[in-house]
């Protein structure tokens, strides 16, 4: 008869963990007491993430308004649509569980997959929506390059504001996979940047859309991925 294999961890043989010294708890008590005194009055920001997301979205919308031309002022519903889109993106991320630890969050593999394909998929969709195509040699000459650079800068600022807002709101929530979560938040912020410039730019040339409107997504995904461990992990 086959005997079960020897298990060093079976009942009665569990390694009981040692205890840290009492000085550790004493030091923590001092730190907590000091922290209480220092932070008693720090309540000027809304405590909920939804409230802070609303504040940061207003900041993004103000920037868009400040850089828009007269055409935008004649169509306020465009701006409202942009703010609504930002809110929907945020809600979608919450529901989809971009930040782990929630009871019904997305599994790590799926989040990694979203990160890997999200940016390239957006670039591809921009390319496919183009109506005209220049060769690379034509594109790198003025005024085409100048226009693309302007759109890229605008989308980087808008997307950067959105990304910073998202990172700040979800700061220190993910010690498990901070790279992934930071990258996903960068991807979402980049999408906000693309959306903002898409609403204001009528150029439908392929390289202009891909580089001027879409490159922000890849850039901010990388920034979010790199900055993730510093901001997302406690």
């Amino acid at each position: 008869m086959n005997q079960p294999p020897f298990d060093p961890f079976d009942r009665g043989k569990v390694l009981h963990p040692p205890l840290p010294g009492d000085h550790v708890l004493s030091a923590l008590r001092s730190e907590l007491a000091h922290d209480l005194e220092r932070n008693a009055q720090r309540r000027w920001m809304p405590s909920s993430r939804v409230g802070r997301a609303a504040l940061s979205s207003i900041l993004v919308v103000f920037f868009v308004l400040a850089t828009a031309g007269e055409a935008w002022l004649r169509s306020p519903w465009v701006v409202l649509g942009f703010a609504a889109a930002y809110g929907m993106l945020l809600t979608g991320m919450l529901v989809a569980g971009a930040v782990p630890g929630r009871k019904h969050g997305l599994p790590r593999a799926l989040r990694g997959g979203l990160l890997a394909v999200g940016g390239p998929l957006l670039l591809l969709s921009l390319w496919l929506s183009a109506e005209t195509f220049l060769s690379l040699g034509e594109f790198v000459t003025a005024p085409y390059l100048h226009m693309a650079t302007g759109c890229l800068a605008h989308s980087l600022i808008t997307g950067g504001l959105a990304t910073l807002g998202l990172l700040a709101i979800w700061r220190q929530t993910d010690p498990f996979s901070p790279h992934l979560t930071g990258g996903l938040l960068g991807l979402l912020g980049g999408a906000v940047g693309t959306l903002s410039v898409e609403l204001g730019c009528a150029n439908s040339e392929g390289l202009h859309l891909t580089l001027g409107h879409g490159m922000v997504v890849l850039a901010l995904t990388c920034v979010g991925y790199w900055i993730g461990p510093k901001w997302m992990s406690p």
Partner: protein, 180 residues
């Protein structure tokens, strides 16, 4: 944890007493140095306190704290470039001290020695699942690996441990092989 997040700081001591032993045991086996492990326990709970409002209520606490501790350990290692094994004053490698009531002294020492000789990935997986008591899913979250990878590491680590502890299996009084 919910009470602590809500502002009941008296709950912090309860949380500490419940989790510190397991956290310290984990860090002690990572660092192989008691003082550094105690420092990391303090750093971890400081971070827990500073980020308590960002804790997602309802999420399991122990994996969250262990993930913070693990990151703190690797951040410290990168900063100081200190090897995990450090010699004490007499030149020996300090072993984690165990509280032993039911445990055979020789087997406990042998088990600790065998764990310290395992590749770190296997040792961490075994420690989190068998000693700290996390599920495979929770251990996978802490280690940043898939469930399959963690199961594989535990299995391979077990094979190596059994090989090392084989003589205890033959002489262990409760083992069926010794029954008349």
């Amino acid at each position: 944890m919910s009470r602590y997040v809500s502002g009941d700081l008296g709950a912090f001591e309860l949380l500490y007493r419940a989790l510190a032993p397991r956290l310290f045991g984990y860090l002690l086996r990572l660092t192989r140095h008691r003082e550094r492990a105690e420092d990391l326990v303090q750093i971890t709970f400081s971070k827990v306190h500073r980020s308590r409002h960002s804790y997602l209520l309802g999420a399991p606490v122990l994996p969250w704290i262990l993930a913070i501790a693990r990151r703190s350990f690797y951040d410290e290692q990168r900063r100081t470039k200190v090897r995990p094994e450090e010699l004490s004053g007499d030149g020996s490698v300090p072993e984690p001290k165990l509280v032993q009531d039911e445990l055979d002294v020789d087997l406990a020492d042998a088990l600790e020695q065998a764990l310290s000789r395992l590749p770190r990935a296997y040792a961490e997986a075994i420690q989190l699942t068998k000693i700290t008591g996390l599920s495979v899913s929770e251990a996978a979250e802490v280690l940043g690996a898939s469930r399959t990878a963690v199961k594989l590491r535990v299995h391979r680590g077990y094979v190596l441990l059994r090989t090392e502890l084989e003589r205890y299996a033959r002489t262990e009084p409760d083992h069926p092989s010794d029954a008349p």
